[in-house]
């Protein structure tokens, strides 16, 4: 092989290498740009509409008077109730599967079932809620029906996240506890759960922050799009922030579009706060573990 040939092949080899890296970097930047464009677009459209009145007014047919109070109260109420239903169930299930389950056939079946449930589209949970909670159990379109539906939706996520946090607790901690004569439950309750707590909390917050943004299942169970009052109790009809946003997006007037954007800003701000809390917790967790 001549020296000239050698140089040329080396050049083309290097070029291909650089090109792939460049392309990868370019596409990565493009995806990040899309995220930037999304946030910029929403902020540009919505910031002007944000005001104290917007946060504390009920919906209205006149866009400049409409606000998100009913939706905000509904969202907080529904998520709170979702947490009350889903967290004890999910954490208990995770404790069973991780600490007690073993490799039995039933445990295996439950595990497969949970990972399948995690892949079911959220709107299917809406149909379940409509058929089961709203019709058969007669809860109607209440906060309770909405929260029960979201709880079922959040359950697999909570179980998977909690299991991961429990798995990260070193085995030695359990063995030391047993060696001191503790029973299984004493070990779980006094040693494993406190050690796993930051990880568990992170998972719970992330699961609930996903539920806050859910729209489709709540529309499917028949949550109303126009509610001019905050829910009183668990039997009240309700709306939530994403549904209010959806309602405004689907109207042709541009002024309602601005309302939707302002609602999105509020929704994203709520998610940001929840995720920041989760990140701080995870950070503390990692420092403790390391």
């Amino acid at each position: 092989m001549s020296a000239e040939m050698d140089a040329r092949t080396r050049f083309s080899r290097l070029l291909g290498d650089r090109l792939l890296a460049l392309f990868g970097l370019l596409v990565t930047l493009l995806a990040l740009t899309a995220l930037g464009a999304l946030i910029f677009d929403v902020a540009r459209d919505g910031i002007g509409r944000l005001s104290w009145e917007f946060l504390t007014s009920y919906p209205s047919r006149r866009p400049e008077e409409a606000g998100i109070l009913a939706a905000l109260a509904g969202s907080l109420f529904v998520i709170g109730l979702t947490a009350v239903i889903a967290i004890p169930l999910g954490v208990s299930a995770a404790i069973y599967l991780e600490e007690y389950g073993g490799k039995g056939r039933i445990s295996r079946l439950i595990e497969i079932n949970i990972s399948n449930l995690a892949g079911v589209p959220s709107i299917i949970y809406g149909l379940l809620g409509l058929g089961l909670f709203v019709r058969i159990m007669g809860m109607d379109r209440s906060v309770l029906a909405g929260a029960s539906t979201l709880a079922l939706l959040a359950l697999p996520v909570i179980i998977l996240a909690t299991r991961e946090a429990l798995r990260a607790v070193p085995k030695t901690l359990r063995e030391a506890s047993y060696a001191l004569g503790a029973t299984k439950w004493q070990t779980v309750w006094h040693q494993v759960l406190p050690a796993a707590m930051p990880g568990v909390l992170t998972g719970l917050i992330l699961a609930l922050s996903r539920s806050i943004g859910e729209t489709a299942p709540l529309i499917t169970i028949g949550a109303l799009t126009y509610v001019p009052f905050a829910p009183k109790d668990i039997w009240s009809p309700f709306t939530v922030l994403p549904i209010q946003i959806f309602n405004w997006v689907s109207r042709p007037q541009a002024a309602f579009g601005e309302n939707a954007a302002a609602g999105i800003v509020v929704l994203l701000a709520m998610l940001l706060v929840m995720n920041a809390v989760a990140i701080v917790l995870r950070d503390r967790f990692q420092r403790h573990a390391g």
Binding site: G24, A31, P121, I123, W185
Partner: protein, 296 residues
Amino acid sequence: MTNRTRHAIEFLIERSLFLCAAFSILVTAGIVFVLLWETTAFLREVPINKFLFGTVWTPLFFDKQFGVLPLVTGTLLASAIAMVVALPAGLLIAIYLSEYATRKVRRIVRPTLEILAGVPTVVYGYFALQFVTPLLQSFVPGLAGFNALSPGIVMGIMILPLVSSLSEDALRSVPNGLREGAYALGATRMQTSLRVVVPAAFSGISAAIVLAASRAIGETMIVAIAAGQQPRLTLDPRVPVETMTAYIVQVSLGDTPGGTLEYRTIFAVGMLLFISTFILNLISNWLRERFREEYA
């Protein structure tokens, strides 16, 4: 406390924890039961071959037709567009992050990209309708205000982190010995990535892709907001269509009384949706298991 009461308490706790875990089986049973119940009632009035192979879907009109194909093509069209966006971009990002990027870059880029997966879908719907559609209309001739193209692209952006993160995990779990072998034979980094590492991680990457497709098919709000509500048997991405999920939303927004045929259509469509995503998820799980066996 005596030993016996302690044993009894331990036993009770274990049983109740087990019941919580077993509850998830009830959820699955509930889904299957509700869908099956209403779907069989629906199929008693509409023959199954008219439902599955009919080409006109007008259950809310005076002249009712129950051919689900327009909803199916609408769903497939929007999902296919999403995959065209997410597949190459996600794979390239995964290769870049796994084979080229420094640790520091990876640690910043990956969580930032994953923010995309955490944005509520109603926000993406707004983005598709108010930003992407007008942008596309400036250079795609004949693009309607509602279309499959814009929500398809936005859905692609949404599932991008799913493809990139899971594919990156697959690429990174390919043993380093394979890479070193390729380098020792004189391969460049690109040749190693594309001809050794990617083929070795193929089943893991396919698992990610199939899961992303399932997510796209079940996605609701983006298409409900930006694709329109006109069930139409077409593969033209520029005109309004309706997906299966968007139809369920459309009916839910109206005040359809329970027990009517219109009410049951959403469960029949939901059943179809459930079965298709379930099959895709099973395939994805099977591919992932296979990948794990190869490199465990």
